[in-house]
């Protein structure tokens, strides 16, 4: 499955992804203000399956996981960046939002059609017919993503534990 690329630069911070002003509001409402300070149209134009493409240190800043949650609610299917803020990366995976490090994201242009191959660790740019190498995630994180994130993953684990001890 491929989606339209929304391209951003370096150091996109969590206050831009999840503005503090809306942190009390339900996360669905907060999501409508995602990226507002730098890209006012983003939340209105992004569609299910689209891919966020960024430079270095995407999601730097606070630990608020609404930054990843907002992207998920807006339907973003994956985030590909040269590097991620460490807490954001963990939050995204925990919430079931696929992320991948790709050192050459500058080769993707706004509105290119891209597909992200998490298991293979590559980004396929259908518009330019090129493939960019990324870093595949360790297997246990792919498993967690496949379960839909940390909570369903733990649910499964705890159920298995209860069964064996029960």
């Amino acid at each position: 499955m491929s989606g339209r690329a929304f391209v951003f630069g370096d150091n996109i911070d969590t206050d831009v992804l999840a503005p503090g002003k809306y942190m009390k509001a339900p996360v669905e409402e907060l999501a409508r203000h995602c990226m507002e300070a730098i890209a006012p149209d983003f939340a209105q134009t992004v569609r299910a399956g689209d891919v966020v493409v960024a430079g270095r240190n995407f999601g730097m800043g606070s630990s608020r996981e609404q930054a990843a949650q907002a992207l998920k609610i807006l339907g973003v299917s994956a985030v590909v960046a040269k590097s991620f803020g460490g807490i954001f990366l963990r939050n995204a995976l925990n919430l079931g939002l696929p992320v991948m490090v790709c050192p050459t994201t500058e080769q993707i242009r706004q509105d290119d059609r891209v597909a992200v191959d998490l298991v293979g660790g590559r980004v396929i740019n259908e518009t330019t017919a090129t493939t960019l190498a990324g870093e595949p995630l360790p297997g246990f994180l792919l498993d967690m993503l496949a379960d839909g994130g940390l909570v369903p993953h733990l649910e499964k684990r705890l159920a298995a534990k209860r069964e064996t001890s029960g």
């Binding site: 206050d15 503005p19 996981e65 705890l158």
Partner: protein, 420 residues
């Protein structure tokens, strides 16, 4: 080959004799700190769904600070959820509106060298000032920790930052950190362990060391570490922590550091970071003369007792310039009381300072107090991202408490060394 401090702590928490950078390990958590924003209101529904309680309430510390003071129904509700969670989960270590989590946690004796700790907040590396490995996680991950008492991590490399020499008068750890943000960038820490060492670091009082560890977050480090010494132990013992005398929580001399940077504290000038990034730091002289509307002394980074003392040393007998609003939000109630008793607070209030709650306040940008449209502020906090502390059109400069105070007096960004 020896181990770094980070490796030693992680190896102990993982129950392994040795770990090496890059390995993925599962660690047992000695301490989990949560606050009102990412804490109970977010973790409770997950624990309910998993049908489990907190794995060990004695290892959990809950502090309310982000939605304090609660000025509307949503904030009051968030606070109420925190209180009922503490009661239902029997969390005895509950500090309700006592100050900002990163400052209250050590102040109440909850940290010890060698601990493996997580916090539901990005500035959790602050705990590393005490020789603990502490890092921030989001709410879902915290729920996982509270359910299981465990967390995975990739064993980090250690980036050693050496500060030689001695800080001059009117220069502080905040200036050290702003310089590092400019030199190394906000991803210079690469989500590894950032360790601070050298004569200038050892000479710092405990709360100044906390500022270094705290802003490891701005360098993008997972943790910020300083080896414990007698200053650490004296601080923690005074706080009621049961600290042993053994010196084992040090890295080995032959451990491998992935990077080693050396900076000279003697030559360091006060630094100011221009909007909208801490990495926009430059010597204060490049911004002197910029007019400010607000001077804010606040946050875990910039309003601890030591920070208030720095500000007061500039403000003593002086007044904030006309048209400048001087705001002070002491980082904890206890620090505020000490500052009151010793006269520090009075100096700031006499200078025209308006006292705000012992909470995150404008730094978090969650409450009613926010910077308005087109306001220019200088702030002792850690982050000046666009729109974080108020309107997207507000411009926030970052500086040390000395620099914020000097700028309040002059009504424009000012070099504090002329005022000391």
């Amino acid at each position: 080959m020896g181990m770094t401090l980070a490796e030693k702590i992680i190896a102990k928490a993982a129950g392994r004799p040795k770990v090496a950078p890059g390995e993925i390990v599962t660690c047992k958590v000695d301490l989990a700190m949560i606050h009102d924003s990412g804490g109970p209101r977010r973790v409770k529904p997950i624990l309910d769904r998993l049908d489990v309680g907190v794995w060990d309430p004695s290892k959990v510390v809950l502090i309310t600070d982000h939605y304090v003071p609660a000025t509307d129904d949503e904030s009051r509700n968030i606070q109420a959820i925190a209180r009922s969670f503490a009661a239902a989960q029997r969390i005895a270590n509950f500090y309700d509106q006592q100050g900002i989590c990163h400052v209250v946690l050590p102040e109440r004796g909850h940290l010890r060298p060698g601990m493996f700790a997580v916090g539901g907040d990005s500035h959790s590396p602050t705990g590393g000032a005490f020789g603990a490995y502490m890092f921030g996680v989001g709410a879902t991950e915290m729920a996982g920790v509270l359910a299981t008492g465990e967390i995975w991590l990739r064993v980090p490399e250690t980036i050693l930052i050496d500060w030689t020499g001695k800080l001059g008068a009117g220069v502080s750890s905040k200036d050290m950190m702003l310089l590092l943000c400019a030199k190394l960038g906000m991803d210079g820490g690469r989500y590894q362990a950032v360790q601070y060492a050298g004569d200038a670091v050892r000479a710092l009082p405990m709360q100044e060391r906390m500022t270094l560890a705290n802003m490891a977050a701005e360098l993008g480090g997972q943790a910020g570490l300083i080896e414990a010494d007698s200053i650490t132990k004296d601080f923690l013992r005074a706080a009621g922590a049961d600290v042993e005398d053994d010196e084992s929580w040090r890295g080995d001399a032959d451990a491998t550091m992935s990077e080693h940077h050396v900076f000279d504290a003697t030559a360091l000038e006060p630094q100011v970071a221009a909007p909208h990034s801490p990495a926009n730091a430059a010597p204060v002289s490049s911004h002197t003369g910029t007019r400010v509307d607000v001077a804010y002394i606040g946050a875990c980074t910039g309003a601890k007792l030591e920070d208030l003392r720095m500000a007061a040393s500039v403000l003593r007998g002086r007044k904030a310039a006309r048209g400048v609003e001087l705001l002070v939000a002491p980082a904890s109630l206890r620090d505020q009381e000490i500052a009151r008793r010793e006269g520090t607070l009075d100096v700031i209030l006499q200078a025209g300072g308006r006292l705000l709650a012992n909470a995150c306040g404008i730094c978090a940008g969650y409450g009613d107090e926010r910077f308005g449209e087109n306001v220019t502020a200088i702030s002792s906090t850690a982050r000046n991202f666009k729109g974080r502390m108020g309107a997207a059109t507000s411009n926030v400069y970052l500086g040390s408490p000395y620099t914020v105070a000097a700028s309040a007096v002059e009504g424009r960004i000012a070099d504090p060394r002329a005022h000391i």
